[in-house]
Structure formats: structure tokens, C-alpha cells
């Protein structure tokens, strides 16, 4: 708009006493402007007269802050700013300066959203830091989302799980507001929260037709019966994440019942609180039923156990596709993995020990024919065995991550030579990961 004004001034003030440089500038602006303006159209207030749909389209590219600035420009732009389509998705960031480096969503903006846009909201997430205050603020907002018909709700703690510090009843009642009012929840992420069996019942009572994704790892107040209720009623459930103690044969059978859609993604966290914890076993027949019903489903398992707690696992075939060992896992267990995980696609081993994993890796290469990604942390592998492993897997290995310090040079290969060999078999340039040494 400034430019347009300048152009007008320039053309009208050719006899003005402005210094030569500014006259030149104005003249340049005029000539630029005449290139841009469609001949015959009036040059004034073009921007304000853009159709709303165009404005909406452009605004969708802008981050919220820039959009907010734009909304201050004129009334039409302000109207566009408040169009429902721009308020379908929102991420509330709730942080306290004392516990986080990041900025929080402005409280005034939150008030505005609740006042003017709560019935537009469909995809909502809350990111809270480690302070209880932030989690409570999230619950307060949730309690006010009475007119919302949410499709997605995510409760995400970015540091320590502060939702667990909120009084349970406060949390449950806030969550229930959404469950009852939305009636069309499709995705729900409530990991590390005090959600319980009764609230899951409320969820199911109101959203069983629409629920597709449920993530509730580390929800200690939920029992196997509680989650079974969800599986029984929500036949459209495609993605589920929970802790191992909630997993049961009944649950797997419910998920494989005829009424149920194909499951796509099941994530299980196996976490030990104290050494010597006992874990129940799941029957092979239950896993078989799952595979028959949903042949393509991903079974993702994260293990955070002490070495001696792996007894109940990997003694029979299990259809795990993505396997992550967050703590040290023994050679013996990795040997069992090689034998019993034919569907394995990704394997990550954080740590193993100081005995080389040569045989175990070769066995995995042989039996896990779908393996395409592997990450080895603090382990030991001889260079020869590693090359053999890569050779057997060949080009299906799209991700190969191993720390340089893991590889033990031997009579056949040194560290400098190994990257050539491996690159050759992978069909691309490959190097081990490095850590700074100083």
C-alpha cells in the first residue's frame, strides 16, 4: 500500500522540491508499480479486496504469530483470521518460565480460542512441561471444551509427566468432558496420565464407532479389564499403544475377532520397575490369531528390563516387527530373537556387553528375512562377522547404524577397510556412527 501511495505522490509531485535521489526512487517505484498493476484497474486497496477463500489459503501457510500480525492490518484480514477453517487444529503449549526454556501460548489467546473458536476445534493437542501448574492449566482448558466435537486429542508431556501430579479426579473430570461431548473421537493420546478404567468406559460409551487410535503407555491406573473393554467395543481400532501388564490373551483375541477391523499397529512397552520383576506370558495361539486376522500389522515392542528378566520372552515364535532393547540384553536372548522373530523389520540394541555378537547377528540375518533396519549401540561385533551380516542382508538394509567403537578389527578387516566392504554390499556409501573423542 505504501508503494501505491508513493506512486501517486510521484506522479503528482513532479514539480516538488524533493532532492534528486528521492525523486529517482519515486520514479522507480512508479515504473515498478505500472508493471505490476493490471492496466485499467484502480490501484488502490487491492490487498484488502482479496477474496476470503484466497486469504484463507494464504493464511494457512503462515505460522500463528505471523497470522496474528496479519490480522491487525484491516477488518477483512481480521475476519479471515477468525474463519473456522483456521481453527480446526491447535496446539496449546503450557510452560512455566521456572521449569521450561520454551514460551507458552499466550493466556489471552487461549481465552479467545475458548470464547470464539471452541466449536471449530477438531484436532487439539496439549504440550505441557514438568510443572504441575502446566498440567492443571491443560485440564482447565479441557474442562471448557464443552462445545467441541474433537476428532483428535493429544496430551503430551515434554519433560517429566506432570499430568500424573494433577489430582486424579480433576484430571478425570476434565478428560470426561471431552469424551462425552465429542462423540467422534478418532485419535486419543493419553500416555503417562492418570486415566482409569471408569473413564475408559465413558470413552467407549460415546466414541466406540469412531475410535481408531489409542495411545496409553504408562497409565498405571488402567487394568487389563479396562483395556479389554475398549477392544471389545471399539471395532474400528487400528492403532493401540500400551504397557505389557495390560496385554492379555483375551485382548489379542478381542482384537482379532471377526467384528474387528484389521489392526495396523500395536505398540507394547515392557518396563521393569525393580529387578526381579515377574512378567506373564502370552500364548503363541493368541499371537497366531492376531497374525491371521491382521497379516500386515506392526508389532512394536520396547523393552526396558534387567538382563535376568527376559525369561518369559522369545521362547516361542512371536510376530514382532520392531524391536527395541533400551537396556542391556544378553547374547542368549538375542540368539532367541534370531530364532523366533521371523517378521522382524527393525532391531535396536542399546547395549549388550563385551562378548561379540557375531553368531547372533548371522542368525538374525539368516532367519529375519524382512529385516531392513538395525541399530547397535554399546555392543561388540567383529568386523568379519559384521561384513558377513551385511552381505547376507544385502540391499534390504536401508538403515544400518552402528557406533564405530563397537566394531573390532580382526585379521580380515581393519576399521578403515570395513566401510568399503559394507558400502559395497549395501549398494550405497556407508560409514559407522562416531562420537567425538577429545
Amino acid at each position: 500500500m505504501k508503494r501505491v501511495k508513493g506512486a501517486e505522490e510521484g506522479s503528482n509531485s513532479s514539480t516538488s522540491k524533493s532532492p534528486p535521489e528521492s525523486r529517482k526512487k519515486v520514479r522507480k517505484q512508479v515504473s515498478e508499480e505500472s508493471e505490476a498493476v493490471v492496466p485499467g484497474e484502480s490501484p488502490d486497496c487491492e490487498w484488502a479486496r482479496l477474496p476470503q477463500e484466497l486469504l484463507l489459503h494464504i493464511f494457512q501457510y503462515l505460522p500463528l504469530l505471523d497470522r496474528a500480525y496479519a490480522s491487525q492490518v484491516c477488518r477483512r484480514w481480521n475476519q479471515a483470521f477468525h474463519m473456522p477453517e483456521l481453527w480446526r487444529c491447535f496446539e496449546f503449549e503450557l510452560n512455566q518460565p521456572a521449569s521450561s526454556y520454551l514460551k507458552a501460548t499466550h493466556p489471552d489467546l487461549i481465552k479467545q480460542i475458548i470464547k470464539r473458536h471452541s466449536n471449530h476445534l477438531q484436532y487439539v493437542s496439549f504440550k505441557v512441561d514438568s510443572s504441575t501448574e502446566s498440567a492443571e492449566a491443560a485440564c482447565d482448558i479441557l474442562s471448557q471444551l464443552v462445545n467441541c466435537s474433537l476428532k483428535t486429542l493429544g496430551l503430551i508431556s515434554t519433560a517429566r509427566p506432570s499430568f500424573m501430579e494433577v489430582p486424579k479426579s480433576h484430571f478425570i473430570s476434565a478428560l470426561t468432558v471431552v469424551f462425552v461431548n465429542s462423540k467422534s473421537l478418532s485419535s486419543l493420546k493419553i500416555d503417562d496420565t492418570p486415566v482409569d478404567d471408569p473413564s475408559l468406559k465413558v470413552l467407549v460409551a460415546n466414541n466406540s464407532d469412531t475410535l481408531k487410535l489409542l495411545k496409553m503407555s504408562s497409565c498405571p491406573h488402567v487394568s487389563p479389564a479396562g483395556i479389554l473393554c475398549v477392544a471389545d467395543q471399539c471395532h474400528g481400532l487400528r492403532e493401540l499403544a500400551l504397557n505389557y501388564h495390560l496385554l492379555s490373551d483375551e485382548l489379542l483375541l478381542a482384537l482379532s475377532s471377526e467384528k474387528h477391523v484389521h489392526l495396523e499397529h500395536l505398540r507394547i512397552d515392557v518396563v521393569s520397575e525393580n529387578p526381579g520383576q515377574h512378567f506373564h506370558t502370552i500364548k503363541k495361539s493368541s499371537w497366531d490369531a492376531m497374525v491371521r486376522h491382521s497379516p500386515k500389522f506392526n508389532l512394536v515392542m520396547y523393552f526396558f528390563l534387567y538382563e535376568e528378566e527376559f525369561g518369559p520372552f522369545f521362547n516361542e515364535e512371536i510376530p514382532v516387527t520392531h524391536l527395541y532393547f533400551g537396556r542391556s540384553v544378553s547374547k542368549e536372548v538375542l540368539g532367541r530373537v534370531g530364532l523366533h522373530c521371523p517378521r522382524l523389520v527393525e532391531l535396536v540394541v542399546c547395549a549388550n556387553g563385551l562378548r561379540p555378537l557375531d553368531e547372533e547377528l548371522i542368525r538374525i540375518a539368516k532367519h529375519c528375512t524382512q529385516l531392513s533396519a538395525i541399530g547397535l549401540g554399546e555392543c561388540e561385533v567383529s568386523c568379519s562377522a559384521f561384513v558377513e551380516f551385511v552381505k547376507m542382508c544385502g540391499r534390504r538394509l536401508s538403515q544400518l547404524s552402528i557406533m564405530e567403537e563397537v566394531l573390532i578389527p580382526d585379521h580380515k578387516y581393519s576399521l578403515d577397510e570395513i566401510h568399503w566392504e559394507v558400502s559395497k554390499h549395501l549398494g550405497r556409501v556407508w560409514f559407522p556412527d562416531m562420537m567425538p573423542t577429545w
Binding site: 520454551l102 484436532y123 514438568s130 515434554t158 500416555d191 537396556r327 541399530g375 567425538p436 577429545w438
Partner: protein
Amino acid sequence: MVVNSVHWFRKGLRLHDNPALQEALNGADTVRCVYILDPWFAGAANVGINRWRFLLEALDDLDSSLKKLNSRLFVIRGQPTDVFPRLFKEWKVTRLTFEYDPEPYGKERDGAIIKMAQEFGVETIVRNSHTLYNLDRIIEMNNNSPPLTFKRFQTIVSRLELPRRPLLPVTLQQMDKCHIKIADNHDQLYSIPSLEELGFRTEGLPPAVWRGGESEALDRLNKHLDKKVWVANLEHPRVSTCSLYASPTGLSPYLRFGCLSCRVLYYNLRELYMKLRKRCSPPLSLFGQLLWREFFYTAATNNPNFDRMEGNPICVQIPWDQNPEALAKWAEGRTGFPWIDAIMTQLRQEGWIHHLARHAVACFLTRGDLWISWESGMKVFEELLLDADWSVNAGSWMWLSCSAFFQQFFHCYCPVGFGRRTDPSGDYIRRYIPILKDYPNRYIYEPWNAPETVQKAANCVVGVDYPKPMINHAEGSRLNIERMKQVYQQLSHYRGLSKSTDRTDLCQGLTQLGV
């Protein structure tokens, strides 16, 4: 025309391979070597007693070496911007020389000094000898941006000419030509301060494990090379228990302060290799330590925000937790994890820890367990660690916390297991945490799991004589893996509003190979 030179020591505290000092001497009538320090700054700065002691010893060594050349070191109290105008007038200075400092803060400071010198009609000569290469050249060869992977860096370096050969040390003949008479009151005016003068309490201070100075550095260099010959293996030795302890051939603090020229080390290693292996050229891996240092200096030289998360273009913005209490426990070695506590104790007592020990404590503080910002860890290292260059320290912390350069965050060091595998005997723990010395090997890395009888027999009850573990590692690392995934998943999305579901593929780190 009379040439009165002043050589300004900052890093580069040595008389060998010192091109800037050589320029000071070149055709000069008088040369004075100065070091400027601000004692008021000592208390405020984040520098611990070991680093000050090392520096003071290095200055003392310089002074002794200059004495042998009939000169002295002039230590001047104050700030360079105040000190130099005085000196320029008093000594009628016509030439100022100093070693190029590639760090952003250094460049800014030096820019101001050069300008000021011009106003006084003082010629300034700056020479590069703190790094092997000309860092701007490396950046230029990488499309005008610093390489962000070590492999890329090595590739570029392999295309460069060899670093410039080191120069010989300053000789007596050279100094004689620029001889000045040392005043009788030199020691009153220009002496090196003591630790007490800087405000440190020294009663009960154990002797330094790492002695500062050029003489010590050169002595260690010879031993370092001898050891390599003896081991007949110029490759990465695997870490063993003994490498956790301070090595009499360790060189990193000397490189940091410039007591040892990096080019001298480079050429000595190169020549040794070529002699032993009778091969044409050594692999880059031979120079591992030197190249890592160079890598971080290159990454940092044009980035004044290199040492922080906010406003740092290469640093991933991670929602670290602010928790001063937890940070203090980590810094003071009171976490309840003997492996971590022993390492932090060694660091505080001696000023050096092995690089794997650094990985362990850095991982524990940041993405492994406590989820505290790497900036806090960096500051603690800056205070305590003798070889913590600004660039190398910040860069390494970003690397280890998966904030930059490195994205395989699945790789996590267990504060119990990793320690046990590195030193099964537990002797390292016993040495630095003597209260645990009577614990059997089985429990020394996790004393809280020892039965009460064992604890009592060892005269150390957890929760009373030694802290309980400040965190449940399994739970902590599970949470943190999730946090890292959240951060990395968001990176490929449009920032701000993200829709519902993310397919949680295993460890996003695996599905995005490094930069």
C-alpha cells in the same frame, strides 16, 4: 624507524611454532611479551581452581623460558581495551602481534583491538597457529558453510594441502637483537598472580595432576610418541580401566591452552607413522583427536550463538526441563549412581576425564536420564575441565545430547551397565568414592540393590551414607526416548499446528540417517 613490538599471549602459550611471535621479533628493536588478565574477572568467570592453576603454571613456565632468553613475561592486570592504550604510550609501541583466535568472541574482541591499534598508529600482525588449517578455507570448500558431519569434514580436509609446517622455537640470538632491560621492579609490576590473589582458598589443595606449561607439554609429547611406538599400534586403543585415569602422556589440555602446537603434534604423528609403517601417507584416523578439535572450531567460528540452543541455527530446539536441584546433584557427584558420581568427582578434583566418561555423564544429564539442557552441562565442564575449548565443549555437548550433528538418539549409555562394562573391577569407583570401597563388585555400581546385610557390612547404607539413586533409569530413559521422538518427528512437519496421529515407527533416529 624504531620498531617496538608487543606480542600478546592469549592462547598459544608457547615459544615453539609461534609465527605471530616471530613476526614480533622480525627486525624489531625491542620486544615485550604480555599476558593480560583481569583478577576481578576471576571470581565472576565460570572458571574453577584447576583451570586457573593450570593457566598460572603455564604463564610461569613462559616466564622461565623467557628468562633463559634474557627477557621476561609481562603480566598486566586489567582489560585489553584499557591496558593497551596505556602500554602503547608507555612503551612507544609500533607493532602488535598475536595468534589468530577463530572463536566468535575472540574475533570480535580482536577486531576492536586492531581498530584501536590503528588509531594509535600501531601496526597489527595476526598469524594463524591455533588450528591446523585455515578454517575459512574449509568453509569455503564446503559451499561456504561449515561441514556438519565429521565424515564430510574429513573428506574436505583430505583434499587440502598439508597444514603449514611448524616453526622452530624462538632462539637466544633472535631475542638478543630485541633486547630490553628488565626493570628492577618488574616483579612488583608485572608478576603472575597467585591463586590466593585471585580469591581461591588453597589450604588442603592437592597437587595438580596436570601440570601446566609448554615444558611439560613437550615432555609429554615425547612420552606420548614413545608410548605409541611401544604399543606398535597407532590405532584407537580400546578403552580399558587404566585409560580412565589421568594419563602422563595425555595432551588435550596443552592443546587447548596452546602450550603445545597442534601442528607439532600433527607432524610428529605423521612422521612416526611413516617411519613405522613405511607407507606413504597415514590415514586420517591417526589424527582423530586433532581433527575433532578442528571440526568443532570450524563449525563454531562464524556462529556466535554456537554455545546456546536459542538462536543457534544448527541446534535442535528441545524442550529441556529446568531443574536446578537435579543439576546441582549431577554437578556435585551426588546422583546416587556411583559411575556418574565417580566421574564427576574425578572431573572436579583433577580437571580431566576420559572421553567415554564424558559421554556417560553428558548422556545422563541430557537425553538419557535427567532431561536437563546441555547448556548447563557445558557450563559445568567449562568451569572444571582443563581442555574445554569454547568451540569443542559446546560442540561436543550438542553432539552428545543429539541437539546437533548427530541424530541416533537410541544410543543411550546406562549409568550402571556402561560403567560396569568399562571397569568390571570397580576400582575406579573405589578410588573416587571411597565411602563405597568395601562394596563387592556385584553391587558397587548399583548399591541400592544390595541387601541390607551387604550394605551394613560395607559400612555404607544407601540413603544414609551415600545418596539413593535420584532417578529410576529404566523409567527415565523410556520417557526420554519418547521425548526425543516427539522432537524429531516435529522436525519434518510444518512447525506450529500438527494434526493427530503420528505413526510411531521405531526410533525416528533410525529412519533419519545423519545430516
